[in-house]
Symmetry: C2
Subunit: 204 residues, 2 copies
């Protein structure tokens, strides 16, 4: 583990290097320049990003695909499955539930919550929708560390507090609101409308 703080954007690039590496033949040796070209960055950037975590290359040759893939997988904590709790089974939540990308990346949605009595008890994609009131117990029992929030804005703060109580430490928030949270919780806002409105400002 690095002794200092690694910038978020470097972590994001590791995730993207890994995706490029997965498409290559295992025994291939790759220069940092070649890897950089594959994902559209510079070789200096590749070397700098990897240097945060150690020496993975063979001097004068480059990186072995298989080894680098394994190392980045380990660094990112992707050598395991992270079960995900989804709160808010509306239109967006339902879309995410059938989106295969989450399961394929090792982040399967395993529990569903909603506060609508008409939805609680219904089964979607093999999962029974549970009451949001039960978030702390269920999340703790299932040892879930990651939550996805697709509730309306008004419900997002309460759901976050409940998820934290149950032991969740990372949240992807799709609700268009700012969530107050302790610094131990890693929260990413991925609301589409906010992102689009920010674009609009810059395009005026």
């Amino acid at each position: 583990m690095p002794q200092f703080k690694v910038p978020d954007v470097a972590i994001q690039r590791l995730s993207i290097y890994l995706r490029a590496l997965r498409k290559l033949e295992e025994n291939r040796i790759l220069s940092s320049l070649k890897l950089a070209e594959l994902i559209g960055t510079s070789d200096g950037q590749v070397r700098k990003d990897l240097a945060y975590f150690g020496e993975f290359g063979i001097p004068g040759q480059g990186y072995q695909v298989k080894k680098l893939r394994r190392e980045i997988t380990r660094i990112l904590g992707l050598d395991r499955t992270w079960k995900v709790a989804l709160a808010g089974v509306g239109k967006l939540g339902s879309a995410l539930l059938v989106y295969p990308g989450l399961r394929e990346s090792g982040f399967p949605i395993r529990v569903l919550f909603d506060n609508d009595p008409a939805k609680i008890g219904k089964v979607r994609e093999g999962l029974r929708i549970q009451s949001s009131e039960t978030i702390p117990q269920v999340v703790s029992q299932e040892e879930i560390k990651i939550g996805i929030i697709t509730t309306p804005a008004e419900a997002a703060q309460k759901v976050t507090n409940q998820l934290i109580k149950g032991g969740v430490r990372g949240i992807l928030n799709f609700a268009p609101t700012i969530i107050v949270h302790p610094s131990e919780l890693k929260l990413k806002n991925v609301d589409l409308s906010t992102n689009l409105e920010t674009l609009s400002y810059f395009l005026k």
Copy 2:
């Protein structure tokens, strides 16, 4: 217009203030503290964010909901509709197409592109899927300035280049790849898997 660069995160908060204001009675006068509470930030933050753009408050009283709503709408460029081009009509693209939040926020998807001959010509939500080869002409003709990319990673760079050629200046990218682009283009990466993998790193 401010003479200096306003941070992205302040623009994001303006978008969230606006959403809170839309739910309030028009003639209400609101203190910065009250507005801050509604969205979970501090009154100092609210005043600082708004001060980038001018003086909107009534000294000693606060902000009139109607006026502040109008001003933020104008600042964000939301006093108009921004037509959106969607490239990549796969599972995620199709989910976005039926998601009502985009149209409701003033960002209706108006043209669809795909490079799969089996999809080109098909109609989805009233829109005919067009060949990605035609992006520059169609986007330019329709005067579209915003693109959403939901293609596989391999196609994202080419599609970006085509969109830029057609005059697009802002892109939301869902493809799990780094896109090389001129600084005049505002690009936001909203890929779910990359976001989740970044969370995983911090949770290990």
